[in-house]
C-alpha cells in the first residue's frame, strides 16, 4: 500500500528565507508523487508532480521538489519565502495508473514578516 509521512505538522520561516517541507513516501511500486497547497477555506491547488521523469521537479510559484529513491523522500523547497506562501501543504502519492491519491497529514507553513 502507498502512504506518505509529512515530518513536520508546522513550519515557520521568515519572509525571504528558504522553505523546506519534508515528505517521506512508502510505495511498493514506482510512485507518482505530488505536492498540493491549500489556502484557508479553499480547495487544493497542484504545485508540482513527479512521474518518473526528471528527479528534480519545478512547480508553480518558485517551488521545486526532488525525488530521492534511496531516501524515499520528496521534499518541497523554495529559495525565498513570500507572505503569500502561508498555507497548508500536502504531500500526495498515487499508485501509477490507479488514480487513487493518498494524502499526508499536511504541513502548515507560517511566514513571519
Amino acid at each position: 500500500a502507498q502512504s506518505v509521512t509529512q515530518l513536520d505538522s508546522h513550519v515557520s520561516v521568515s519572509e525571504g528565507t528558504p522553505v523546506l517541507l519534508r515528505c517521506n513516501y512508502s510505495s511498493s511500486y514506482s510512485p507518482s508523487l505530488f505536492w498540493y497547497v491549500q489556502h484557508p477555506n479553499k480547495g487544493l491547488q497542484l504545485l508540482l508532480k513527479y512521474t518518473s521523469a526528471a528527479t528534480l521537479v519545478k512547480g508553480i510559484n518558485g517551488f521545486e521538489a526532488e525525488f530521492k529513491k534511496s531516501e524515499t523522500s520528496f521534499h518541497l523547497t523554495k529559495p525565498s519565502a513570500h507572505m503569500s506562501d502561508a498555507a497548508e501543504y500536502f504531500c500526495v502519492v498515487n499508485k501509477w495508473g490507479a488514480q487513487k491519491l493518498v494524502f499526508g497529514q499536511g504541513t502548515r507553513l507560517t511566514i513571519n514578516p
Partner: protein
C-alpha cells in the same frame, strides 16, 4: 482556467437532518471524486466515479452516505441522517485519465 464548481460553500445543519452537496466538474473530465477533509487532517477519498459508474466507494459510510452521477456530468453527495462527526470540508475533484486532480473550493459542513 476552468474550475470545479461546488455548492453550497457553507452548510449548517442539525444532527439527524438530511444534507446534500453538489459538484459540477470541469467539462470533459470523466473522473469525479468526493473527498472528506476533517479539520487538521488530509483529505480522504469517499467515492470515485468514472463517467456515471462508481469505481471506488470502499470508504463511503453507506448506511448514511450516498452519491450519484446520473448523467456522468455533475454529482450529488447526500448524508442522511447527519451526525456530529460528519462536520468537515467536503471536496469535489475531477480529472482526465491519468492526469492530476483539479479541486473545487469545497463545502464546509457544520453539524450541530
Amino acid at each position: 482556467e476552468a474550475e470545479v464548481a461546488q455548492s453550497p460553500r457553507y452548510k449548517i445543519t442539525e444532527k439527524s437532518q438530511a444534507v446534500a452537496f453538489w459538484c459540477d466538474p470541469i467539462s470533459g473530465h470523466a473522473t469525479l471524486y468526493w473527498y472528506r477533509q476533517i479539520l487538521g487532517q488530509g483529505p480522504e477519498l469517499l467515492v470515485q466515479f468514472q463517467d456515471e459508474s462508481v469505481v471506488d466507494d470502499s470508504q463511503l459510510p453507506k448506511d448514511r452516505f450516498s452519491a450519484e452521477r446520473l448523467k456522468g456530468v455533475d454529482s450529488t453527495l447526500k448524508i442522511q441522517p447527519a451526525e456530529l462527526g460528519d462536520s468537515a470540508m467536503y471536496l469535489c475533484a475531477s480529472s482526465l485519465r491519468n492526469s492530476p486532480l483539479h479541486f473545487g473550493n469545497g463545502t464546509r459542513l457544520t453539524v450541530t
